[in-house]
């Protein structure tokens, strides 16, 4: 596998979706190619940082309008 092959499979590799022979071939390339190893590690970290991000609290005005709309809907349904 060459560098281009690694880049094309980087998502599948990070997600653990590669068949074993392809995974082993990719990892053999990473042992000898520091550039590709860096790209793989940084791409994995990119995913982890976004995946680990959490939502901030809903702004008070947005929350208030949401719950007002919801109460109107619940009342409509109740009548």
């Amino acid at each position: 596998m060459n560098c281009k092959g690694v880049i094309l499979e980087i998502s599948n590799y990070i997600d653990g979706e590669l068949d074993l022979p392809v995974k082993e071939e990719l990892e053999r390339h990473l042992e000898d190619c520091e550039d590709c190893k860096m790209v793989v590690d940084q791409t994995r970290l990119t995913v982890e940082i976004f995946c680990d991000s959490k939502p901030v609290e809903l702004p008070a005005d947005v929350k208030s309008r949401l719950h007002e709309a919801l109460h109107r809907k619940l009342q409509e349904k109740g009548n």
């Binding site: 998502s11 860096m38 947005v62 949401l66 919801l70």
Partner: protein, 229 residues
């Protein structure tokens, strides 16, 4: 040398417009199965029987996450709020049709994503289409490469990281951003993402690969050694 040398540019910070904040070490990443708490199905069952308090509890539980999702897709606060409201109102109106073959939260994400996409298409009719073919392979090869050092995200304060994540995701093309948000932020499966967006599984995978590589490239300017100076 495979990659061209990266020319450092001092990171220019923008005011925060997104809603992403990194978790602290004391609040580690949680999987979707634990995000949707175990009693979710009980609340859904009660709401289906007409218990409005149960539905309100579901809203309280997921409102911040759904707003983050609609904000991440539309990148417009007004549209994000409208999409979130309509998603909750529609989920309530159609609750009886919810089959419980998936988690309520996943079903809600699908509704909210569609509401947000509808508004994004309306606002940018010529700039966004999930039907567009993706770029060729030539564009994929990383052009910028620099050592990030260990745990580069810890070199930034939480609010600073918030701004960085908002800025880089904002610059991603909408058709890549939507797939990335559903797969890697909301943690839907590839199949669920394809179903939510009405595109094929290979199209999801192709856009996800491009989104991840482009985000890595954009983060390079912040995380590259010396990028914080």
């Amino acid at each position: 040398m495979l990659y061209a040398t990266f020319i450092k540019a001092k990171a220019r910070m923008q005011p925060p417009i997104g809603l992403l904040i990194p978790l602290s070490a004391s609040n580690p990443h949680r999987l979707p199965s634990t995000v949707a708490r175990d009693d979710e199905h009980l609340l859904v069952a009660a709401a289906k029987r007409g218990d409005t308090h149960a539905f309100e509890e579901l809203v309280n539980r997921y409102e911040a996450k759904i707003f983050r999702l609609t904000m991440n897709i539309t990148r417009n606060r007004e549209d994000a709020e409208d999409a979130m409201q309509d998603a909750f109102l529609k989920s309530y109106a159609h609750l009886k049709n919810f089959q419980e073959d998936s988690r309520f939260y996943t079903w809600l994400v699908r509704i909210a994503a569609n509401e947000a996409l509808m508004r994004l298409r309306k606002r940018r009719p010529n700039q966004f289409s999930l039907d567009e073919p993706v770029e060729g392979e030539e564009d994929l090869m990383p052009r910028e490469l620099e050592d990030w050092g260990p745990s580069p995200e810890q070199r930034f304060a939480q609010t600073e990281m918030h701004e960085i994540l908002s800025e880089v995701i904002d610059k991603l093309k909408p058709d890549f951003r939507v797939v990335f948000v559903l797969r890697d932020v909301e943690e839907l499966s590839t199949e669920e993402t394809a179903k939510a967006l009405g595109i094929s599984i290979p199209a999801v995978k192709s856009r996800l690969l491009r989104a991840r590589l482009k985000l890595r490239q954009k983060l390079n300017r912040y995380f590259g050694q010396g990028g914080t100076n």
